[in-house]
């Protein structure tokens, strides 16, 4: 059932996102071509220089728009699940966690693809992938397994952060869905309140960590970390952060799922 939900989710979002992506790609290619042509000319009138700068600025704005559209489409999918679409999707014999999982996986995948796509667009704008790919190849070859593992860990950490971002939106939608009217407004307010709470929580936790560190003779710990060498120290720190973010994600997921099973209230 999860794969079917994923397939359906993917198709629905692709219908909107692929055309946008295509448009952005074409615009970027055109701008890149203009750059390539104009950069080889000297003493152009100021007007042309200005237009070129404008064009590049617009290209960057268009990228931001693309990212925003990606997030918006994926969040809207979830919002609609608790609205009109729920009558179809939530009637399906699928557990609620599968609905959340399908939406989350799909949203994260699109965001990662979106990020990669923007890097590609950046290269196109400067017409500089040759150097880029060569560099990448070189550095890849020179990587030690340890560094590679660390990179994977960083990626995992970023992914967990990304999932957390979407789970924030989902939880906000879930809270908004509890209201009879003005659900959109309620969801938006819930999102900001959640953000605020998370901020406070992180600050408090950070402070507690600092106090704990002082209380528990942190210097000894520091020494331990230093003794292991800085590379492993970074890895440990990353692991702790990753675990923290994952726990946060799990809590958000659990509350969303609880709202959708025990407190479901379709408009």
């Amino acid at each position: 059932m999860l794969t079917k939900l994923l397939k359906y989710e993917w198709k629905t979002t692709a219908r909107v996102l692929l055309p946008i992506g295509g448009g952005v790609l074409i615009f970027t290619i055109l701008t890149g071509l203009a750059n390539a042509l104009l950069n080889h000319q000297s003493d152009l009138p100021a007007m042309v220089d200005f237009s070129q700068a404008m064009l590049n600025m617009i290209a960057v704005l268009v990228w931001i728009f693309l990212l925003a559209a990606c997030v918006f489409v994926n969040v809207r999918q979830f919002y609609k699940l608790l609205g009109e679409q729920g009558y179809l999707m939530l009637s399906l014999p699928a557990a609620v966690w599968k609905h959340i999982a399908a939406k989350l996986i799909c949203a994260c995948a699109w965001s990662v693809i979106g990020g990669a796509f923007l890097i590609l667009c950046g290269c196109i704008l400067n017409m500089s992938f040759g150097g880029m790919s060569l560099n990448a190849g070189d550095s890849m070859a020179g990587l030690q397994p340890g560094i590679l593992a660390a990179l994977c860990l960083v990626m995992l950490f970023l992914l967990a952060l990304l999932a957390g971002t979407y789970l924030d939106f989902y939880l906000a939608c879930g809270i908004g869905g509890q209201f009879g009217q003005q659900r959109l407004l309620a969801s938006i307010i819930a999102y900001f309140v959640l953000g605020f709470i998370e901020q406070i929580l992180s600050t408090v936790l950070m402070m507690m960590a600092v106090f704990a560190w002082v209380a528990a003779d942190g210097a000894a710990w520091m020494q331990f970390l230093y003794s292991v060498d800085s590379f492993w120290a970074t890895i440990y720190l990353l692991l702790i952060l990753l675990a923290f973010v994952l726990v946060l994600d799990a809590i958000k997921w659990a509350i969303t799922q609880w709202l959708m099973t025990r407190r479901l209230n379709l408009a």
Binding site: L88, S91, R262, L264
Partner: protein, 234 residues
């Protein structure tokens, strides 16, 4: 409780804020029965069906479908027709059939296509471009093409023209199985009362009466429609 009870509600309560939608609804529907859920607007018909379909949580009491509370299992044996358009409007008719075939193992795609053809709905028509009545017909066809144990239809005949209404009624009568039960809500009882076994009258969130159609006709000498008008007279 009778072993044949497929669908029952026990002391079901639901509030929307301070407004009471269901106030202690209890009834039982046995297998093989075609039951009409009658009541004026705001009497709780849609709320009851939404709770039964697992789209709304009750504040008290429970709904049991084949002995279980609404969940993945009950959804797999219940075919629910909401009171609104639930199919994505950007889909074509054929996509919607595929979607149902994908998600419901008891869905008969061939039957659905035949029904759509009978109603002159083209497979490549976009759902968003169909008239409201056609969308309703389309949705009903999909709902009735499953071989479920329980059908819950919320206002299946609301916006449909009389000719299609007859076809739909025939479709319902031909397609539901002897080991299935069907509950439909309506406030247009006239056309369909002779197709029903029983009717449940809802009023202000409570069951006023659950009675067999022929028993009621025998008792009152009126049709259910006339009785309905009498009971709910303003």
């Amino acid at each position: 409780m009778n072993e044949n009870v497929i669908y029952e509600a026990q002391d079901l309560h639901k509030r929307y804020g301070s407004r009471v939608a269901l106030n202690g609804v209890s009834f039982a529907v046995t297998t093989g029965k075609l039951v009409g859920l009658l009541g004026p607007n705001g009497s709780g018909k849609t709320t009851l069906l939404k709770i039964s379909a697992g789209l709304l949580t009750a504040n008290g009491g429970c709904v049991l479908i084949d002995g279980q509370e609404p969940g993945v299992y009950t959804k797999s044996i219940t075919s629910y027709l909401p009171d609104r358009m639930a199919l994505p409007t950007e889909m074509r008719a054929a996509d919607a059939v595929d979607l149902y075939a994908d998600f419901y193992t008891d869905f008969d795609a061939a039957k659905a296509r035949a029904m759509l053809a009978d109603l002159h709905i083209e497979a490549r028509n976009r759902i968003g471009a169909m008239s409201k009545g056609t969308q309703e017909k389309m949705q009903l066809c999909l709902t009735m093409s499953r071989s479920a144990r329980l059908y819950l239809l919320d206002e299946p005949l609301g916006g449909v023209d009389p000719a299609a209404r007859d076809y739909i009624l025939q479709t319902i009568l031909r397609n539901y199985h002897e080991d299935a039960a069907l509950v439909l809500s309506t406030h247009l009882i006239g056309d369909i009362e002779r197709a029903l076994d029983e009717v449940i009258f809802l009023q202000e969130g409570s069951v006023l009466r659950q009675v067999g159609v022929d028993a009621l006709r025998e008792e009152t000498g009126h049709s259910v429609d006339e009785y309905f008008r009498e009971v709910y007279k303003c």
